[in-house]
Protein backbone atom coordinates (compact mmCIF):
# COMPACT_ATOMS: atom_id res chain seq x y z
CA UNK A 1 0.00 0.00 0.00
CA UNK A 2 2.59 2.53 -1.04
CA UNK A 3 -0.10 4.71 -2.58
CA UNK A 4 -1.44 5.73 0.83
CA UNK A 5 1.73 7.77 1.34
CA UNK A 6 0.67 10.05 -1.51
CA UNK A 7 0.00 13.56 -0.12
CA UNK A 8 -3.67 14.59 0.15
CA UNK A 9 -3.26 17.33 -2.42
CA UNK A 10 -0.71 15.84 -4.75
CA UNK A 11 -0.40 17.14 -8.29
CA UNK A 12 -2.63 14.34 -9.52
CA UNK A 13 -5.27 15.09 -6.93
CA UNK A 14 -5.21 18.81 -7.62
CA UNK A 15 -5.84 18.03 -11.24
CA UNK A 16 -8.98 16.13 -10.25
CA UNK A 17 -10.42 19.41 -9.00
CA UNK A 18 -9.02 21.86 -11.52
CA UNK A 19 -9.67 19.86 -14.68
CA UNK A 20 -13.48 19.87 -14.49
CA UNK A 21 -13.43 23.62 -13.89
CA UNK A 22 -11.93 24.35 -17.28
CA UNK A 23 -10.24 21.74 -19.50
CA UNK A 24 -12.80 19.03 -18.89
CA UNK A 25 -15.84 21.00 -17.75
CA UNK A 26 -18.85 18.68 -17.54
CA UNK A 27 -21.24 21.23 -19.04
CA UNK A 28 -19.24 23.11 -21.65
CA UNK A 29 -16.79 20.41 -22.79
CA UNK A 30 -18.61 17.15 -22.11
CA UNK A 31 -22.00 18.85 -22.67
CA UNK A 32 -23.70 16.96 -19.83
CA UNK A 33 -26.37 18.19 -17.45
CA UNK A 34 -27.54 20.82 -19.93
CA UNK A 35 -31.22 20.39 -19.05
CA UNK A 36 -30.99 21.88 -15.58
CA UNK A 37 -28.39 24.43 -16.71
CA UNK A 38 -31.04 25.83 -19.06
CA UNK A 39 -33.93 25.75 -16.64
CA UNK A 40 -32.80 26.90 -13.19
CA UNK A 41 -30.63 29.84 -14.19
CA UNK A 42 -33.23 32.62 -14.17
CA UNK A 43 -32.15 33.73 -10.73
CA UNK A 44 -28.75 33.54 -9.08
CA UNK A 45 -30.01 32.17 -5.76
CA UNK A 46 -31.75 29.26 -7.49
CA UNK A 47 -28.60 28.51 -9.47
CA UNK A 48 -26.47 28.53 -6.32
CA UNK A 49 -28.81 26.23 -4.38
CA UNK A 50 -29.03 23.91 -7.38
CA UNK A 51 -25.23 23.82 -7.64
CA UNK A 52 -24.89 23.03 -3.95
CA UNK A 53 -27.49 20.27 -4.27
CA UNK A 54 -25.70 18.70 -7.23
CA UNK A 55 -22.33 19.10 -5.50
CA UNK A 56 -23.67 17.33 -2.41
CA UNK A 57 -25.22 14.47 -4.37
CA UNK A 58 -22.10 14.09 -6.51
CA UNK A 59 -19.62 14.05 -3.61
CA UNK A 60 -21.71 11.76 -1.43
CA UNK A 61 -22.57 9.48 -4.36
CA UNK A 62 -18.94 9.25 -5.40
CA UNK A 63 -17.85 8.54 -1.83
CA UNK A 64 -20.45 5.84 -1.19
CA UNK A 65 -19.91 4.11 -4.52
CA UNK A 66 -16.14 4.28 -4.06
CA UNK A 67 -16.36 2.76 -0.57
CA UNK A 68 -18.58 -0.02 -1.88
CA UNK A 69 -16.74 -0.52 -5.16
CA UNK A 70 -15.48 -3.96 -4.16
CA UNK A 71 -18.85 -5.07 -2.81
CA UNK A 72 -21.19 -4.00 -5.61
CA UNK A 73 -22.14 -7.00 -7.75
CA UNK A 74 -21.28 -6.18 -11.35
CA UNK A 75 -24.58 -7.56 -12.61
CA UNK A 76 -26.62 -4.86 -10.91
CA UNK A 77 -24.06 -2.07 -10.61
CA UNK A 78 -26.14 0.49 -12.53
CA UNK A 79 -29.18 -0.27 -10.41
CA UNK A 80 -27.14 0.11 -7.23
CA UNK A 81 -25.76 3.44 -8.41
CA UNK A 82 -29.24 4.62 -9.32
CA UNK A 83 -30.59 3.68 -5.90
CA UNK A 84 -27.76 5.56 -4.18
CA UNK A 85 -28.28 8.67 -6.30
CA UNK A 86 -32.07 8.54 -5.93
CA UNK A 87 -31.82 8.19 -2.16
CA UNK A 88 -29.44 11.16 -1.93
CA UNK A 89 -31.65 13.30 -4.16
CA UNK A 90 -34.73 12.52 -2.08
CA UNK A 91 -32.83 13.53 1.05
CA UNK A 92 -31.80 16.82 -0.57
CA UNK A 93 -35.36 17.44 -1.75
CA UNK A 94 -36.82 16.78 1.70
CA UNK A 95 -34.26 18.98 3.44
CA UNK A 96 -34.87 21.85 0.99
CA UNK A 97 -38.63 21.56 1.49
CA UNK A 98 -38.20 21.75 5.24
CA UNK A 99 -35.58 24.49 5.57
CA UNK A 100 -35.56 26.62 2.41
CA UNK A 101 -39.18 26.26 1.33
CA UNK A 102 -39.21 29.21 -1.10
CA UNK A 103 -36.18 27.98 -2.99
CA UNK A 104 -37.53 24.45 -3.17
CA UNK A 105 -40.75 25.88 -4.62
CA UNK A 106 -38.94 27.74 -7.38
CA UNK A 107 -36.67 24.79 -8.17
CA UNK A 108 -39.77 22.57 -8.22
CA UNK A 109 -39.15 19.38 -10.19
CA UNK A 110 -35.53 20.14 -11.01
CA UNK A 111 -34.28 18.90 -7.66
CA UNK A 112 -35.92 15.56 -8.34
CA UNK A 113 -34.44 15.59 -11.82
CA UNK A 114 -30.90 15.63 -10.38
CA UNK A 115 -31.37 11.84 -10.45
CA UNK A 116 -31.28 11.96 -14.23
CA UNK A 117 -28.40 14.44 -14.41
CA UNK A 118 -25.91 12.60 -16.60
CA UNK A 119 -22.96 14.18 -14.80
CA UNK A 120 -23.73 12.22 -11.66
CA UNK A 121 -24.23 8.77 -13.17
CA UNK A 122 -21.31 9.51 -15.45
CA UNK A 123 -18.90 10.22 -12.60
CA UNK A 124 -20.10 7.27 -10.52
CA UNK A 125 -19.65 4.86 -13.41
CA UNK A 126 -16.50 6.34 -14.90
CA UNK A 127 -14.59 7.35 -11.79
CA UNK A 128 -15.89 6.28 -8.38
CA UNK A 129 -16.31 2.64 -9.34
CA UNK A 130 -12.59 2.34 -10.02
CA UNK A 131 -10.92 4.76 -7.59
CA UNK A 132 -10.22 5.22 -3.93
CA UNK A 133 -12.61 7.25 -1.72
CA UNK A 134 -10.40 10.36 -1.35
CA UNK A 135 -9.78 10.68 -5.07
CA UNK A 136 -13.50 10.10 -5.67
CA UNK A 137 -14.44 12.90 -3.27
CA UNK A 138 -12.07 15.28 -5.06
CA UNK A 139 -13.48 14.23 -8.41
CA UNK A 140 -16.99 14.88 -7.10
CA UNK A 141 -16.01 18.31 -5.76
CA UNK A 142 -14.31 19.21 -9.03
CA UNK A 143 -17.20 18.20 -11.25
CA UNK A 144 -19.76 19.69 -8.92
CA UNK A 145 -17.90 23.02 -8.93
CA UNK A 146 -17.45 22.85 -12.69
CA UNK A 147 -21.21 22.42 -13.09
CA UNK A 148 -21.93 25.13 -10.54
CA UNK A 149 -19.53 27.57 -12.20
CA UNK A 150 -21.45 27.42 -15.48
CA UNK A 151 -24.80 27.70 -13.71
CA UNK A 152 -23.74 30.76 -11.74
CA UNK A 153 -22.13 32.49 -14.74
CA UNK A 154 -25.21 31.90 -16.88
CA UNK A 155 -27.55 32.94 -14.07
CA UNK A 156 -25.50 36.11 -13.51
CA UNK A 157 -26.18 37.35 -17.04
CA UNK A 158 -29.74 36.08 -17.16
CA UNK A 159 -30.77 37.73 -13.93
CA UNK A 160 -28.87 40.95 -14.66
CA UNK A 161 -30.27 41.50 -18.14
CA UNK A 162 -33.58 39.68 -17.66
CA UNK A 163 -34.78 41.43 -14.53
CA UNK A 164 -32.09 44.01 -13.75
CA UNK A 165 -31.23 42.34 -10.45
CA UNK A 166 -28.49 40.24 -8.86
CA UNK A 167 -29.45 37.91 -6.02
CA UNK A 168 -32.63 39.95 -5.76
CA UNK A 169 -30.90 43.32 -5.37
CA UNK A 170 -31.92 45.92 -7.91
CA UNK A 171 -28.85 46.79 -9.94
CA UNK A 172 -30.41 48.76 -12.76
CA UNK A 173 -33.05 50.46 -10.63
CA UNK A 174 -36.72 49.63 -10.24
CA UNK A 175 -38.69 48.94 -13.42
CA UNK A 176 -42.05 49.62 -11.74
CA UNK A 177 -41.13 52.99 -10.25
CA UNK A 178 -39.02 53.85 -13.29
CA UNK A 179 -35.87 54.67 -11.37
CA UNK A 180 -32.20 54.24 -12.25
CA UNK A 181 -31.53 53.06 -15.80
CA UNK A 182 -35.24 52.52 -16.41
CA UNK A 183 -35.79 56.25 -16.09
CA UNK A 184 -33.79 56.83 -19.27
CA UNK A 185 -35.70 54.26 -21.27
CA UNK A 186 -33.81 51.02 -20.56
CA UNK A 187 -35.93 47.86 -20.69
CA UNK A 188 -35.35 44.32 -19.45
CA UNK A 189 -34.68 41.71 -22.08
CA UNK A 190 -37.56 39.22 -21.90
CA UNK A 191 -35.61 36.57 -23.83
CA UNK A 192 -33.15 36.38 -20.94
CA UNK A 193 -35.88 34.93 -18.74
CA UNK A 194 -36.54 32.01 -21.08
CA UNK A 195 -34.51 28.80 -21.44
CA UNK A 196 -33.23 29.53 -24.99
CA UNK A 197 -31.08 32.41 -23.74
CA UNK A 198 -29.10 29.92 -21.62
CA UNK A 199 -28.20 28.04 -24.79
CA UNK A 200 -26.86 31.26 -26.28
CA UNK A 201 -24.93 32.10 -23.12
CA UNK A 202 -23.48 28.59 -22.78
CA UNK A 203 -22.44 28.72 -26.45
CA UNK A 204 -20.75 32.08 -25.89
CA UNK A 205 -18.99 30.64 -22.86
CA UNK A 206 -17.71 27.68 -24.89
CA UNK A 207 -16.52 30.04 -27.63
CA UNK A 208 -14.55 32.21 -25.21
CA UNK A 209 -13.20 29.16 -23.40
CA UNK A 210 -11.95 27.56 -26.60
CA UNK A 211 -10.52 30.84 -27.82
CA UNK A 212 -8.45 31.07 -24.65
CA UNK A 213 -7.39 27.42 -24.61
CA UNK A 214 -6.42 26.38 -28.16
CA UNK A 215 -5.72 22.80 -27.02
CA UNK A 216 -9.46 22.29 -26.66
CA UNK A 217 -10.15 22.80 -30.35
CA UNK A 218 -10.59 19.59 -32.34
CA UNK A 219 -7.89 19.11 -34.96
CA UNK A 220 -10.05 17.96 -37.86
Amino acid sequence: MSETKEPLFSKKNKKLISDPLNLNNPVTIQVLGICSALAVTVQMDNAIVMSVAVLFVLVMGNLIVSLMRNLIPSKIKIIVQLVIVAALVIIVDQVLKAFVYDVSKSLSVFVGLIITNCIIMGRLEAFALGNKPWASILDGVGNGLGYGLILVVVAFFKELFGSGKLLGFEIFGNSVDQTGLYAIGYEDNGLMLLPPSSLILVALYIWIQKKRTPSLIDEH
Binding site: V42, L71, I72, P73, S74, K75, I76, I79, V80, V83, I84, A87, I90, I91, Q94, V95, K97, A98, F99, Y101, S108, G162, S163, V176, G190, L193, L194
Partner: protein, 307 residues
Protein backbone atom coordinates in the same frame (compact mmCIF):
# COMPACT_ATOMS: atom_id res chain seq x y z
CA UNK B 1 -14.46 -19.51 2.67
CA UNK B 2 -14.58 -16.74 0.15
CA UNK B 3 -17.87 -15.40 -1.16
CA UNK B 4 -18.60 -15.76 -4.84
CA UNK B 5 -19.41 -12.19 -5.83
CA UNK B 6 -20.62 -13.18 -9.26
CA UNK B 7 -23.16 -15.66 -7.90
CA UNK B 8 -26.91 -15.05 -7.94
CA UNK B 9 -27.16 -15.57 -4.21
CA UNK B 10 -24.74 -12.73 -3.47
CA UNK B 11 -26.47 -10.41 -5.93
CA UNK B 12 -29.87 -11.12 -4.43
CA UNK B 13 -28.68 -10.66 -0.86
CA UNK B 14 -26.95 -7.43 -1.78
CA UNK B 15 -30.09 -6.08 -3.46
CA UNK B 16 -32.32 -7.01 -0.53
CA UNK B 17 -30.02 -5.51 2.09
CA UNK B 18 -29.61 -2.34 0.02
CA UNK B 19 -33.35 -1.85 -0.41
CA UNK B 20 -34.05 -2.36 3.28
CA UNK B 21 -31.27 -0.01 4.39
CA UNK B 22 -32.11 2.74 1.90
CA UNK B 23 -35.86 2.37 2.44
CA UNK B 24 -35.49 2.59 6.19
CA UNK B 25 -33.22 5.62 5.98
CA UNK B 26 -35.55 7.53 3.67
CA UNK B 27 -38.61 6.67 5.74
CA UNK B 28 -36.85 7.96 8.83
CA UNK B 29 -35.79 11.22 7.18
CA UNK B 30 -39.20 11.81 5.65
CA UNK B 31 -41.03 11.30 8.93
CA UNK B 32 -38.59 13.50 10.86
CA UNK B 33 -38.87 16.40 8.44
CA UNK B 34 -42.59 16.11 7.79
CA UNK B 35 -43.81 18.37 10.63
CA UNK B 36 -41.50 21.18 9.48
CA UNK B 37 -42.61 20.81 5.88
CA UNK B 38 -46.28 20.82 6.81
CA UNK B 39 -45.80 23.89 8.98
CA UNK B 40 -44.23 25.60 5.95
CA UNK B 41 -47.21 24.79 3.73
CA UNK B 42 -49.67 25.86 6.42
CA UNK B 43 -47.86 29.10 7.19
CA UNK B 44 -47.59 29.92 3.52
CA UNK B 45 -51.35 29.62 3.13
CA UNK B 46 -51.84 31.86 6.18
CA UNK B 47 -49.35 34.31 4.71
CA UNK B 48 -51.29 34.39 1.44
CA UNK B 49 -54.61 34.94 3.17
CA UNK B 50 -53.25 37.74 5.38
CA UNK B 51 -51.48 39.36 2.46
CA UNK B 52 -54.66 39.24 0.39
CA UNK B 53 -56.71 41.23 2.91
CA UNK B 54 -54.93 44.33 1.69
CA UNK B 55 -54.17 45.89 5.05
CA UNK B 56 -51.04 47.86 5.72
CA UNK B 57 -50.45 45.83 8.88
CA UNK B 58 -50.34 42.51 7.06
CA UNK B 59 -48.66 43.69 3.87
CA UNK B 60 -45.37 41.86 3.37
CA UNK B 61 -45.84 39.66 6.44
CA UNK B 62 -43.25 36.90 6.65
CA UNK B 63 -44.21 33.25 6.55
CA UNK B 64 -43.30 32.49 10.15
CA UNK B 65 -44.92 35.67 11.38
CA UNK B 66 -48.11 34.81 9.49
CA UNK B 67 -48.47 31.58 11.43
CA UNK B 68 -48.38 33.53 14.69
CA UNK B 69 -50.72 36.41 13.90
CA UNK B 70 -53.22 34.57 11.66
CA UNK B 71 -55.85 34.21 14.37
CA UNK B 72 -55.51 37.85 15.41
CA UNK B 73 -56.95 38.91 12.08
CA UNK B 74 -59.01 35.99 10.78
CA UNK B 75 -62.02 35.66 13.06
CA UNK B 76 -64.12 33.16 11.09
CA UNK B 77 -63.47 30.37 8.62
CA UNK B 78 -66.62 29.56 6.66
CA UNK B 79 -67.42 26.86 4.10
CA UNK B 80 -70.01 27.82 1.50
CA UNK B 81 -71.84 25.50 -0.89
CA UNK B 82 -72.62 26.27 -4.52
CA UNK B 83 -75.76 28.20 -3.55
CA UNK B 84 -73.85 30.44 -1.20
CA UNK B 85 -75.25 28.81 1.96
CA UNK B 86 -73.01 28.36 4.98
CA UNK B 87 -72.09 24.70 5.41
CA UNK B 88 -69.86 25.08 8.41
CA UNK B 89 -68.33 27.86 10.41
CA UNK B 90 -65.21 27.89 12.54
CA UNK B 91 -63.99 30.78 14.62
CA UNK B 92 -60.48 31.77 15.60
CA UNK B 93 -61.10 29.86 18.85
CA UNK B 94 -61.11 26.56 16.96
CA UNK B 95 -57.62 25.16 16.36
CA UNK B 96 -56.48 24.66 12.79
CA UNK B 97 -55.75 20.96 12.43
CA UNK B 98 -54.14 20.50 9.09
CA UNK B 99 -51.22 18.25 9.95
CA UNK B 100 -51.77 14.54 9.38
CA UNK B 101 -54.47 13.20 7.07
CA UNK B 102 -56.34 11.56 9.94
CA UNK B 103 -56.26 14.73 12.01
CA UNK B 104 -57.51 16.89 9.16
CA UNK B 105 -60.76 18.63 9.94
CA UNK B 106 -62.81 18.50 6.75
CA UNK B 107 -65.27 20.99 8.21
CA UNK B 108 -62.58 23.64 8.45
CA UNK B 109 -62.47 26.04 5.53
CA UNK B 110 -58.73 26.28 5.97
CA UNK B 111 -58.35 22.65 4.88
CA UNK B 112 -60.56 22.82 1.79
CA UNK B 113 -58.49 21.80 -1.20
CA UNK B 114 -59.78 24.11 -3.88
CA UNK B 115 -57.28 22.79 -6.41
CA UNK B 116 -58.78 19.32 -6.05
CA UNK B 117 -62.26 20.78 -6.41
CA UNK B 118 -61.17 22.44 -9.60
CA UNK B 119 -60.09 19.10 -11.04
CA UNK B 120 -63.52 17.65 -10.26
CA UNK B 121 -65.07 20.72 -11.79
CA UNK B 122 -63.16 20.44 -15.06
CA UNK B 123 -64.53 16.90 -15.39
CA UNK B 124 -68.05 18.24 -15.00
CA UNK B 125 -67.39 21.06 -17.45
CA UNK B 126 -66.41 18.51 -20.07
CA UNK B 127 -69.48 16.41 -19.32
CA UNK B 128 -71.87 19.36 -19.50
CA UNK B 129 -70.27 21.81 -21.91
CA UNK B 130 -73.55 23.69 -22.16
CA UNK B 131 -73.77 24.30 -18.40
CA UNK B 132 -77.35 24.68 -17.26
CA UNK B 133 -79.37 23.01 -14.52
CA UNK B 134 -77.83 19.56 -14.94
CA UNK B 135 -74.34 21.00 -14.55
CA UNK B 136 -75.30 22.89 -11.40
CA UNK B 137 -76.99 19.83 -9.96
CA UNK B 138 -73.83 17.80 -10.60
CA UNK B 139 -71.68 20.41 -8.82
CA UNK B 140 -73.92 20.20 -5.76
CA UNK B 141 -73.96 16.44 -5.89
CA UNK B 142 -70.16 16.28 -5.96
CA UNK B 143 -70.14 18.49 -2.90
CA UNK B 144 -67.89 21.20 -4.33
CA UNK B 145 -67.54 23.80 -1.61
CA UNK B 146 -66.00 27.24 -1.31
CA UNK B 147 -63.85 28.50 1.57
CA UNK B 148 -64.33 32.01 2.93
CA UNK B 149 -62.22 33.72 5.57
CA UNK B 150 -63.61 36.61 7.54
CA UNK B 151 -61.02 39.08 8.77
CA UNK B 152 -61.50 41.91 11.20
CA UNK B 153 -59.33 44.94 11.75
CA UNK B 154 -60.16 48.31 13.32
CA UNK B 155 -63.80 47.28 13.54
CA UNK B 156 -64.00 46.66 9.81
CA UNK B 157 -64.76 43.32 8.27
CA UNK B 158 -63.09 41.81 5.23
CA UNK B 159 -63.97 38.67 3.32
CA UNK B 160 -61.13 36.64 1.79
CA UNK B 161 -62.12 34.23 -0.98
CA UNK B 162 -59.91 31.45 -2.27
CA UNK B 163 -60.21 29.64 -5.60
CA UNK B 164 -58.25 27.84 -8.26
CA UNK B 165 -58.13 27.52 -12.03
CA UNK B 166 -55.85 26.77 -14.92
CA UNK B 167 -53.18 28.95 -16.49
CA UNK B 168 -51.21 28.16 -19.61
CA UNK B 169 -49.10 25.32 -18.20
CA UNK B 170 -50.49 24.34 -14.85
CA UNK B 171 -52.67 25.30 -11.90
CA UNK B 172 -53.12 28.90 -10.87
CA UNK B 173 -54.93 30.06 -7.75
CA UNK B 174 -55.91 33.27 -6.08
CA UNK B 175 -57.05 34.88 -2.87
CA UNK B 176 -59.30 37.92 -3.31
CA UNK B 177 -60.42 40.01 -0.35
CA UNK B 178 -63.60 42.09 -0.31
CA UNK B 179 -64.61 44.96 1.90
CA UNK B 180 -67.60 44.80 4.19
CA UNK B 181 -69.99 45.68 1.35
CA UNK B 182 -69.16 42.35 -0.30
CA UNK B 183 -68.50 43.86 -3.69
CA UNK B 184 -65.42 46.08 -3.53
CA UNK B 185 -62.07 44.30 -3.78
CA UNK B 186 -59.58 45.31 -1.10
CA UNK B 187 -56.63 43.11 -2.02
CA UNK B 188 -55.55 40.10 -4.04
CA UNK B 189 -52.87 37.44 -4.09
CA UNK B 190 -52.37 35.26 -7.14
CA UNK B 191 -49.97 32.39 -7.43
CA UNK B 192 -49.15 29.68 -9.94
CA UNK B 193 -47.44 26.36 -10.19
CA UNK B 194 -45.59 26.62 -13.46
CA UNK B 195 -46.38 29.69 -15.55
CA UNK B 196 -43.62 31.04 -17.78
CA UNK B 197 -41.08 33.01 -15.71
CA UNK B 198 -41.15 36.69 -16.61
CA UNK B 199 -44.41 36.39 -18.55
CA UNK B 200 -47.27 34.47 -16.93
CA UNK B 201 -45.48 34.44 -13.59
CA UNK B 202 -46.09 38.19 -13.41
CA UNK B 203 -49.51 37.49 -11.91
CA UNK B 204 -47.64 37.18 -8.62
CA UNK B 205 -46.35 40.74 -8.88
CA UNK B 206 -47.93 43.71 -7.17
CA UNK B 207 -48.20 45.57 -10.46
CA UNK B 208 -50.82 43.07 -11.61
CA UNK B 209 -52.43 42.32 -8.28
CA UNK B 210 -52.91 45.90 -7.13
CA UNK B 211 -55.01 46.81 -10.16
CA UNK B 212 -57.90 44.85 -8.68
CA UNK B 213 -58.09 47.03 -5.58
CA UNK B 214 -61.25 49.13 -5.61
CA UNK B 215 -62.88 47.23 -8.48
CA UNK B 216 -66.41 45.97 -7.86
CA UNK B 217 -68.15 42.72 -8.76
CA UNK B 218 -71.71 44.03 -8.85
CA UNK B 219 -73.37 46.27 -11.41
CA UNK B 220 -73.59 49.89 -10.21
CA UNK B 221 -77.23 50.22 -11.18
CA UNK B 222 -78.88 46.84 -10.94
CA UNK B 223 -76.70 45.45 -8.15
CA UNK B 224 -76.47 42.14 -9.98
CA UNK B 225 -73.27 40.14 -10.30
CA UNK B 226 -70.96 41.58 -12.91
CA UNK B 227 -67.63 39.82 -13.40
CA UNK B 228 -64.30 41.56 -13.58
CA UNK B 229 -62.70 41.18 -16.98
CA UNK B 230 -58.99 40.87 -17.58
CA UNK B 231 -58.62 42.91 -20.76
CA UNK B 232 -55.79 43.42 -23.21
CA UNK B 233 -53.07 45.63 -21.77
CA UNK B 234 -53.15 49.31 -22.75
CA UNK B 235 -56.16 51.57 -22.77
CA UNK B 236 -58.68 52.73 -20.26
CA UNK B 237 -60.35 50.48 -17.74
CA UNK B 238 -63.64 50.89 -15.93
CA UNK B 239 -64.77 49.50 -12.56
CA UNK B 240 -65.04 45.98 -13.98
CA UNK B 241 -61.84 45.75 -16.00
CA UNK B 242 -58.14 45.32 -15.33
CA UNK B 243 -55.14 45.15 -17.65
CA UNK B 244 -53.88 41.72 -18.65
CA UNK B 245 -50.28 40.78 -19.32
CA UNK B 246 -48.62 41.15 -22.67
CA UNK B 247 -47.08 37.87 -23.75
CA UNK B 248 -49.15 35.91 -21.27
CA UNK B 249 -52.62 35.93 -22.78
CA UNK B 250 -53.57 32.46 -21.62
CA UNK B 251 -52.53 33.06 -18.04
CA UNK B 252 -54.69 36.18 -18.03
CA UNK B 253 -57.57 34.24 -19.56
CA UNK B 254 -57.14 31.67 -16.78
CA UNK B 255 -57.25 34.36 -14.09
CA UNK B 256 -60.35 35.83 -15.73
CA UNK B 257 -62.08 32.45 -15.93
CA UNK B 258 -61.39 31.32 -12.37
CA UNK B 259 -62.42 34.67 -10.92
CA UNK B 260 -65.70 34.84 -12.82
CA UNK B 261 -66.63 31.27 -12.03
CA UNK B 262 -65.83 31.43 -8.33
CA UNK B 263 -66.85 34.97 -7.44
CA UNK B 264 -70.32 34.31 -8.84
CA UNK B 265 -70.80 31.76 -6.06
CA UNK B 266 -69.35 34.02 -3.37
CA UNK B 267 -71.59 36.81 -4.58
CA UNK B 268 -74.63 34.68 -3.71
CA UNK B 269 -73.43 34.71 -0.10
CA UNK B 270 -72.53 38.41 -0.18
CA UNK B 271 -75.95 39.12 -1.63
CA UNK B 272 -77.64 37.38 1.27
CA UNK B 273 -75.50 39.43 3.67
CA UNK B 274 -76.37 42.66 1.92
CA UNK B 275 -80.10 41.99 2.03
CA UNK B 276 -79.92 40.80 5.64
CA UNK B 277 -78.02 43.85 6.84
CA UNK B 278 -81.09 46.05 6.36
CA UNK B 279 -82.40 44.87 9.73
CA UNK B 280 -79.64 46.08 12.12
CA UNK B 281 -81.13 49.59 11.68
CA UNK B 282 -83.04 49.11 14.95
CA UNK B 283 -80.04 48.15 17.03
CA UNK B 284 -78.31 51.08 18.72
CA UNK B 285 -74.87 51.95 17.46
CA UNK B 286 -72.47 54.04 19.50
CA UNK B 287 -69.39 54.39 17.35
CA UNK B 288 -69.81 57.18 14.82
CA UNK B 289 -67.62 55.63 12.16
CA UNK B 290 -69.55 52.40 12.54
CA UNK B 291 -72.75 54.39 12.01
CA UNK B 292 -71.33 55.87 8.85
CA UNK B 293 -70.29 52.43 7.67
CA UNK B 294 -73.60 50.84 8.41
CA UNK B 295 -75.47 53.67 6.72
CA UNK B 296 -73.32 53.07 3.67
CA UNK B 297 -74.14 49.37 3.81
CA UNK B 298 -77.82 50.09 4.32
CA UNK B 299 -77.89 52.46 1.36
CA UNK B 300 -76.15 49.84 -0.76
CA UNK B 301 -78.50 47.13 0.32
CA UNK B 302 -81.61 49.24 -0.07
CA UNK B 303 -80.53 49.80 -3.64
CA UNK B 304 -80.46 46.03 -3.95
CA UNK B 305 -83.75 45.63 -2.15
CA UNK B 306 -85.39 48.08 -4.52
CA UNK B 307 -84.23 45.98 -7.42
Amino acid sequence: MSINKEGNGYTMTFAIVMVVVVGGLLAYIASTLKPIQQANVKNEKMQNILQAIGLEETNGVSRDEAGKIFNDYITERIILDYDGNVVSKKTSEDPIESAAKSMKDEKDAFNLEVRKYYNTLTGLMKKYPEGGAEYEAAIKEKGINYPLFVAENDGKKYFVTYFSGKGLWDDIWGYVAFREDGTTINGTVFDHKGETPGLGSKITEELFQNQFIGKIITDENSGEYKPIKVEKPGGEYNQHQVAGLSGATFTAVGVDEMMNRSLEVYNKYFYSLRTASVQPLESPVNDTTAVMDSIQVIVDSTMLAIK
